[in-house]
């Protein structure tokens, strides 16, 4: 009897400790190291595990990349952003990383950690002091590569150009040309050309008329100037003769 009593209490304590359940958040080891072309998107599955005996609520904290001058940081999206993991269970969080094309260049290394913290199912944010949250983190290392053209996109562009050209040829040959060569269209074109020729002729005649008028005006002006010059010359000659001496004038008169 004396032996069994301590044994009983030992078993009781074992029962009590065995009933203390715990939840612990873990993850599969290994960083995400990705060579990414500028403008591309990469997807990775991030495994989170609950190694404990009770359900574990978690939430994801997206990474913050240290800014680099003249470069645009990658964007990271995780699905789901929070959830509950059953005991001894692994869940996968899909991590989608996009390296923007704009304002980016090759040869840059981006390094950060996407974290997942465990939260009690009845978690409430505390106040005052430093509130500590612990969890696991997956390092994301991105090495930017030169941009590449997506083959599918290139094929779509080429196909679009070919289709556009084919449609253009079809329209020209089967819609435009027949209409263009029809009797009515030809008659319309001939009429239009006639009108254009008429208009041209009218403008030429107008131009000639105005130039003729100009020339006539100039000729009249020249004629006027010539007659004025003649009159002026005659008047000068008679004045000169009036100034000669009376003797000479008499001589001139006798001779007459």
């Amino acid at each position: 009897m004396a032996i069994r009593v301590p044994l009983f209490f030992f078993l009781l304590s074992l029962i009590l400790t065995a009933n203390v359940y715990h939840a612990q958040l873990g993850q599969a080891a290994g960083a995400f190291v990705i060579n990414m072309s500028i403008g591309s998107t990469a997807t990775r599955n991030w495994s989170l595990v609950n190694t404990g005996d009770i359900p574990l609520a978690y939430r994801v904290i997206l990474p913050t990349f240290t800014p680099i001058p003249n470069a645009t940081a990658p964007t990271v999206v995780a699905v789901p952003m929070n959830g509950t993991i059953a005991p001894h269970t692994t869940v996968a969080v899909k991590v989608v990383i996009t390296l923007p094309y704009l304002n980016n260049k090759a040869g840059i290394r981006w390094d950060s950690v996407i974290g997942s913290v465990a939260q009690p199912l009845n978690f409430t944010q505390g106040t005052g002091g430093a509130q500590i949250q612990g969890g696991v983190g997956k390092e994301i290392v991105i090495k930017s590569q030169p941009a590449t053209i997506d083959p599918l996109a290139l094929a779509a562009i080429i196909a679009g150009i070919v289709i556009a050209i084919a449609l253009g040829i079809y329209y020209y040959k089967y819609k435009f040309l027949p209409k263009y060569n029809s009797k009515e269209e030809r008659a319309k074109r001939a009429k239009r050309q006639k009108e254009i020729a008429k208009e041209k002729l009218r403008r030429m005649e107008e131009k000639l008329r105005s130039e003729r008028a100009k020339l006539l005006a100039e000729a009249r002006m020249i004629g006027k100037q010539a007659s004025m010059a003649e009159k002026a010359a005659k008047s000068t000659a008679s004045k000169k003769s009036a100034k000669r001496s009376p003797r000479k004038q008499k001589k001139g008169a006798k001779k007459k």
């Binding site: 612990q24 080891a29 005052g128 002091g129 500590i132 612990g134 969890g135």
Partner: protein, 176 residues
């Protein structure tokens, strides 16, 4: 010892064995079975996934009342966080935080005023001493499998900081 006592003791021992077995648990993935031709042997291969698991010791650090222009030093008043790695691979401690926000949210001060070290009351050269940042950073502290590492925290209060009750969030991640 009579027969009844023997039976009771055997029952107790069986119960103890059952309880010990129920507490033991392990995580595994990928079991493959193969049979050697010409024999009745079956080979089972278990792939154990490499994992790191974090447990932190507390959920909040209370720095109590601190005067402007002074520092608490690292680890004072028991301001410590223990990080236990229950996984099967070592992991590094990465840390980030938010700015200190007062009850009146227009009053705050920067996260870098929170400092930590891997040694009590020791700052500067020779120790993993640094400031907490907004972007998560590697402390350089390696937590081995099954080990517990301790970080000692402190806070510097800027000169002239308005009296208030301030709160910040600190996130500690084991990265492996």
């Amino acid at each position: 010892m009579n027969n009844r006592a023997v039976i009771v003791n055997l029952g107790i021992i069986a119960l103890m064995a059952a309880m010990v077995l129920s507490v033991v648990s392990f995580t595994f993935s990928g079991i493959s079975l193969s049979a050697n031709s010409g024999s009745t042997n079956v080979v089972a291969t278990v792939n154990v996934q490499s994992t790191c698991v974090l447990a932190v010791s507390n959920s909040a650090i209370n720095f109590f009342t601190v005067n402007p222009g002074t520092s608490t030093g690292v680890g004072a008043s028991g301001n410590v966080v223990s990080d236990t790695n229950n996984g099967n691979v070592g992991s590094y401690i990465w840390i980030s935080g938010s700015n200190w926000i007062g009850v009146n949210i227009a009053v705050n001060f920067f996260v870098a005023n929170t400092i930590y070290s891997n040694s009590f009351n020791n700052e500067g050269a020779g120790y993993l001493f640094n400031s907490v940042g907004l972007a998560t950073g590697n402390t350089g502290e390696l937590v081995s499998t099954g080990a517990t590492n301790t970080l000692y925290f402190g806070v510097n209060i800027p000169n002239g900081q308005t009296a208030n009750s301030y709160t910040q969030n600190v996130v500690i991640n084991n990265v492996c």
